[in-house]
């Protein structure tokens, strides 16, 4: 190989480029397609007479029609979410009773019998095991329902039609219609939603979809919303309306999330992302009946288990940290209560408190353990009975008992509303942050995606708290 010759080749190519001008790509594409159509003329015959009825076209007419397009879409999304939330209840509580109520004591006894010191026993089984068990119990059932359902619609070919129907709304905020799907996927799990943005092949719109995915209220956050709405919002209205009121509050939060998603998509596309390349293309593939069992199987393997595994990997150290901060003492105060004290003033400014802020920091790995952590820390700080022990997360079967603990921790309606808002508007969980980094390969965008929702959350809760205190 001769460097000079290579340089000559490159020099020649540059010279020829100048001669040809900038139509080369056009000409080449045209030539290839011209070739292709000649080959097809030779080898393919199509009998047009017979193909009168196209089922595809019929379905398309309906699912993109002015009258039916949007109702069908909303109905399907609603049905999928309803099935996920309601359907997951039973297996979730079964898993919880198995992992938390049965296996956990067995493990602790096992440790005691083996002569583990109390701190090792606590660290391993109250800390690490409990966090992992919690994440599995809360996360696995909804994901095992949501992802296969979603995948079935995907394999059938319906989802590109949703992107087609919704594109105009997303275009106005500088985003891609396919973001409607990554957003919906985010209702299941933000990490999966971020991975799903691969279907958006335009760099700018993909970044927008990644950064704003966290505004979709994920599975890990629905239970928090439902619990708080039931306790605090349901209580303000007459009892016959309470479930309706709490339901509307939860849906309201989810819709608020969609609003923020649109707002920040718009803001990002007009500011930091305006220089990124933007293209649009959307193929509407033919409908194909999904291979039912195979789809169920592969979506479980591909999406559910992978996401679950990552969550477990992150939850285990979180459990360790939670146990440690409540059991390691500086002077006569545990690290946790010391941190809570120092967060209290800032928390008050946001209409929250130190316990909540600390819970959100240690629960970065998984939103599922926010409520158990809050309960544990509240019991620890107030010294009321109800807990199992320092650093041992717990949840109560009865909603009233949970309400009593929270009220004892100084919670008001404002606190509940702001926690619901903050649960929507805070940093993504660490699984999602890690996924964002892997997908974007950029520290910058990972930091933006992480901090943007927290700051939005600070500002919104702050404003709500001040206005609440002024007017109510």
């Amino acid at each position: 190989m001769n460097t000079k010759n290579i340089d000559d080749i490159i020099a020649l190519s540059e010279e020829l480029r100048w001669e040809i001008g900038d139509d080369f790509h056009d000409n080449l594409s045209e030539s290839i397609y011209a070739d292709a159509s000649r080959i097809v003329e030779d080898a393919v015959t199509k009998d047009n007479k017979k193909s009168k009825f196209r089922l595809d076209a019929r379905i398309d007419k309906i699912v993109t029609s002015r009258i039916w397009g949007f109702p069908i879409m909303l109905f399907i999304l609603g049905a999928v979410l309803w099935l996920t939330i309601i359907g997951a209840n039973y297996p979730s509580s079964m898993l919880a009773s198995l992992l938390l109520d049965n296996i956990h004591p067995i493990l602790k006894d096992f440790g005691t019998n083996l002569g583990f010191p109390w701190w090792l026993n606590g660290f391993l089984f109250d800390g690490v095991y409990l966090a992992v068990a919690w994440v599995i119990a809360v996360m696995l059932p909804p994901m095992a329902i949501f992802f296969p359902l979603f995948t079935l619609f995907e394999d059938f070919g319906y989802l590109p039609r949703v992107a087609f129907n919704m594109d105009n709304l997303f275009k106005r905020s500088g985003a891609h219609g396919k973001q409607a799907l990554t957003m919906s996927m985010g209702f299941g799990c933000n990490a999966a939603g971020v991975v799903a943005t691969r279907i958006i092949d335009s760099p700018r719109e993909r970044l927008i979809a990644i950064i704003t995915n966290n505004f979709s209220l994920c599975n890990g956050r629905w239970p928090t919303q439902i619990l708080l709405a039931t306790i605090f919002i349901g209580a303000v209205v007459p009892e016959s309306y309470s479930s309706l009121a709490s339901l509307s509050a939860v849906i309201g939060i989810a819709i608020l999330g969609i609003f923020f998603m649109f707002f920040f998509s718009w803001a990002l596309s007009k500011t930091v992302l305006k220089g990124e390349v933007s293209t649009f293309n959307l193929e509407l593939p033919p409908y194909r009946p999904p291979v039912f069992w195979k789809t169920i199987y592969t979506s479980l393997i591909d999406r559910t288990l992978i996401v679950l595994w990552r969550a477990i990997v992150f939850a285990a150290p979180a459990g360790a940290v939670i146990w440690l901060i409540s059991n390691v003492f500086i002077g006569d105060q545990s690290v946790a209560s010391w941190l809570i004290d120092s967060f209290d003033d800032f928390g008050f400014l946001l209409g929250l408190n130190g316990v909540i802020l600390l819970a959100y920091i240690v629960a970065i790995p998984a939103n599922e353990i926010v409520i158990p952590t809050i309960l544990m820390l509240t019991v620890m700080v107030t010294g009321i009975s109800g807990g199992v022990g320092d650093g041992v997360m717990f949840e109560l079967d009865s909603v009233t008992a949970t309400a009593d603990i929270l009220r004892a921790g100084g919670w008001t309606l404002l606190t509940a509303i702001n926690v619901m808002l903050f649960s929507l508007l805070h940093n993504p969980c660490s699984t999602t942050i890690y996924t964002i980094y892997k997908e974007t390969n950029s520290l910058k965008w990972t930091v933006v995606a992480t901090l943007l929702p927290v700051f939005a959350g600070f500002i919104i809760t702050f404003l709500v708290a001040q206005l609440w205190r002024i007017f109510i």
Binding site: M1, N2, T3, N5, I6, D8, I9, I10, L12, S13, L16, R17, E19, I20, F24, H25, N27, L28, S29, S31, I32, Y33, D35, A36, R38, I39, V40, D42, A43, V44, T45, K46, D47, N48, K50, S51, T151, E154, D155, F156, G157, L159, P160, R198, I199, D201, E283, P285, P286, Y287, R288, P290, V291, K294, T295, Y297, T298, S299, I301, D302
Partner: protein
């Protein structure tokens, strides 16, 4: 149609059903590398799964496989490693998935490239096929979703198509395992040099451009006499592809390492 066997070749002498082992992800030692390329939505991943026995998820949706997936199968005591490339419409642009696909065909030097196309949308798919045939000589066209095409009353004369393209053409319907034995047999024959390809090169290019391409590709051949895709490299140089210029400088373009 009713009397037609599911696969015409299941019983014929060529295909040796006992010689086939689907090895899944066990890609340790292998004799040949096979690349799987194609447009999005052509059932490429289904073909991949049918060949390897794996169950990679496929979505009816472009852009699902962004990274390469690998699997393997054994046929007549020879091991084939199969690499599933991202589905792309073309190899001429600069998006991430196109680069992955292109780099593998160009630098990965697969022994055989299987190009999966949707039989009902042949013309659109040929865009990619013709580009791949500029890069590599050893390829087979997998005319997938042939059942759908039959339902749409599209008839494809595979002999004419094979003659026009200069590569073997195998109609398949991977979902129903139709044509997979023939595909494996063809891959094996190609890998062992029993079938020789004479792939079609892109014609109809405007004269001034064609002459530039020839000038450039001749100069490239002078420097790299063993290169078979100098014309395609000329295309890329005329588009100012920085990666190809780099590969040319380092000599990677002619090496067998990847």
């Amino acid at each position: 149609m009713k009397n037609k066997p599911q696969s015409a070749c299941e019983t014929c002498a060529h295909f040796n059903a006992d010689g086939l082992k689907k090895l899944g992800v066990k890609t340790g030692d292998f004799d040949f590398v096979v690349a799987l390329a194609g447009n999005p939505n052509t059932g490429k991943s289904t073909v991949f799964n049918a060949l390897t026995g794996l169950r990679q998820h496929t979505g009816n949706w472009p852009g699902k496989t962004v990274t390469r997936a690998e699997g393997a199968f054994e046929y007549n005591n020879e091991k084939f490693k199969l690499v599933d490339l991202p589905g792309t419409y073309s190899l001429l642009s600069t998006s991430e998935d196109e680069e992955v696909a292109r780099d593998f065909i160009l630098f990965g030097k697969p022994t055989v490239t299987v190009i999966v196309v949707d039989a009902s949308r042949l013309e659109r798919n040929l865009n990619l096929v013709l580009q791949i045939l500029e890069i590599t000589n050893n390829a087979v066209l997998c005319l997938n979703l042939i059942d759908e095409a039959e339902r749409n009353n599209i008839k494809i004369d595979t002999r004419i198509l094979a003659k026009d393209l200069g590569i073997p053409v195998v109609p398949t319907s991977a979902r129903f395992q139709r044509g997979i034995p023939e595909l494996i047999q063809t891959i094996s024959e190609l890998a062992n040099g029993k079938i020789k390809c004479k792939p079609r090169k892109i014609k109809n290019i405007p004269k001034n451009i064609e002459s530039s391409i020839q000038k450039l590709s001749k100069t490239i051949e002078k420097e790299y006499p063993n290169i078979s895709n100098s014309r395609w490299i000329a295309f890329r140089l005329l588009e100012g592809d920085a990666q190809i210029i780099e590969a040319l400088k380092t000599g990677k373009i002619a090496s067998n390492e990847y």
